[in-house]
Amino acid sequence: MRYASAEVRKQFFIDMFTRDISLEDCVLDLIGNSLDSYLLKHAISVSELIFGPDATNGARKPGRIDVTCTENQIKVVDTCGGISRERAMKDVFCFGHDEDDPVGKLGAYGVGMKRALFKIGNKFDIVSRTATEGFEVSLNLQEWAEKKEWKIPITFVEGADSEAKAGTSITITELHEEVALRIREGGVPRNILNDAATTYPYFLDRCVKLRIDGNDVPPRPIPFGESDGVIRAAREKFEQSNVKVTLAASVAPGQRMAEQAGWYILCNGRVVVDANKDDLTGWASDLASFQPKYRSFVGLASFESDDPLRLPWTTTKRDINRESGVFIRARSLMATMSKPILTFLNSQYPSDPNAEVGDIRDAVEGVQPVSFRDIASRSPSGFLYTPPKKKAKTNDWVRFQASITSLDKVRHHVRRPSLSASDVGKLAFDHYVKTECADD
């Protein structure tokens, strides 16, 4: 029997699989690893973060993550607990996870850190300390790529001595030219800040404080709205293949830009897709195409699992695997939930100019913020708009066409040549009522 080579080549990982992810998303993956360390260390479930009470950490001290970004180096330093030597030896530097490896909530594929290191620079230094033990790794990528063996030299160092100081520092230097160029071009730290704010809103300030180049990153939560007794959000839940899915859709409060509208998809608390308005979430196929009049629409789909491989995210964690069975089912529900909301938002702009839309527009303006947690805690139901009870009409519109000759006759008669046509009509109407109709 002959055999063809199926060798894994280092150059593939260094040059090729780094192309499908942006620099900013690489840094987000490193931040995600720090978050994962914190979640593991404190045994925090994602459900607790998203659906738990808003109370502060209590006895738990928040972790810190500091990211600095210059054209010479990118550095991510955290106090999120550190990595054990055992994990460093057996798992952290492998591509992919073994069945027995402990898996975090945000790290699914075992590639995020490696891909980030390879993408960003030629040299990296990692120092990680738990309270009791630590290790150091320094590597020159090109030198490593020239060797056949798939091993990385590691040195054991002392631990951090306290839980508060336990954490990991990753420093990447000898940045690749295209990375340095992007940083020189400007905007990368701001992009990372904005992306982190919108990607990790359920983690920031709840379990970690994040800073980019010394600037605090406040979370940007996804706003939901309801109006007591008038507008009630849609919500659905199901569980499939060990993935818990929670869906909510409603009208967002306040003035909204179209860019903010659409479906947000979370996997284990990380926002993977934000403000989606295309076919991924049913727009232009199961739903109408997005239009600015739908700018108040907001939907959130949360997928949660102890096994992150079951979640429907791609390896970049910026898109969804459309072949995922649990996503196919969720997407169907998302479209169903969205339709009544779009019908409601459509009704603000009726084709009949005489239709009364005041109640609907008042309802949209009266929407108040409500948390995803509160919506998700109720049993499944569709979107509901309850119009206020109609007050008896006391006024109505009078509209008709009149010849200009007749209008001018009235204007001449009352000696007000510049009287508008509607005022002429009102004058004539009032005159008739006064002179011909008996008082009630």
Binding site: E236, D286, S332, L333, M337, K339, F344, S379, G382
Partner: protein
Amino acid sequence: MIIDALQRLATAGFPIFDYQYTGFGAIYFVDFIMLHKLLGMNRLLSLEQDKSLENRVSFNKPFSCVDIKMVPASSEIPSLSRDIRHIVWLDYDGVLRKDFLSDIQSAITVLPAGSILLVTVDVEPPEDYDYKQVDPDFDSSKNVLGPKQWKRYFEHHASGYLGLGLSEGDFGKSELLQRSIEVLKGAFTRSIVARPELEFLPMFHFDYRDSHRMLTMGGMIAGPTERRLLRASTIDAAIYYRGDFGTQPFEINVPRLTRKERVYLDREMPCPDGWSPKEFDLDPDKARQYREIYRFLPAFAEILL
């Protein structure tokens, strides 16, 4: 026939009287009256999207247990209770449209197992339709409507459900029934795929004409328990039952008969094959057609007061 089917299901163990029926009662509420009187159903919801009919619909409400909501099906279906089972009959009076397919998807997505969905559509060429929406070159003053425009119509409203390689010839007037069957079948199948623990079991497949040729298809959203109960029922013995949408639909042909002729025929029903009445001329085929539907025909009467 629907009533007959539901009675058979009730006998098999489906608590039909506890189901909620949601339909488009309009101002006549025919189905609501029959379901309440013959099956004892009390959860009845009529949807009407034409708000100008509100007063008339309310006035004609037949029983206090009938709720009326002046909203389209798309707004109400997502809110149907998940704690009870439903019979939903989307009795559209028009040719297939995108929003019909959207309603089917919503219903199959949310309704719990044991629920029954029926859909009725017109299978004549769409009339009163602005064909410029689907064929910008169409000029009603010069062009005659035909398969080209009907193909464009179906592609606009249901392209995701049409087979590949269809030509204009596949959209001739006589082919629209088959195209509609394919689209509805596709809509049922695609929608249930998202719920891998359930299946959509076909039950109803009717082809009939009143003023227009109409198609009704429907079935049950079923898990293993519902499948077992359905199989154990007598519904598969019913002449109208269709457990596979690939078979020919049940054609409802109602022979034109006088009341006197019907009384005479009823005495001989069920008649053997090939039988025809001696007292008046009636083709054996028409007698057979009558035999298939006599049990389900209402008796109408005109009274001169």
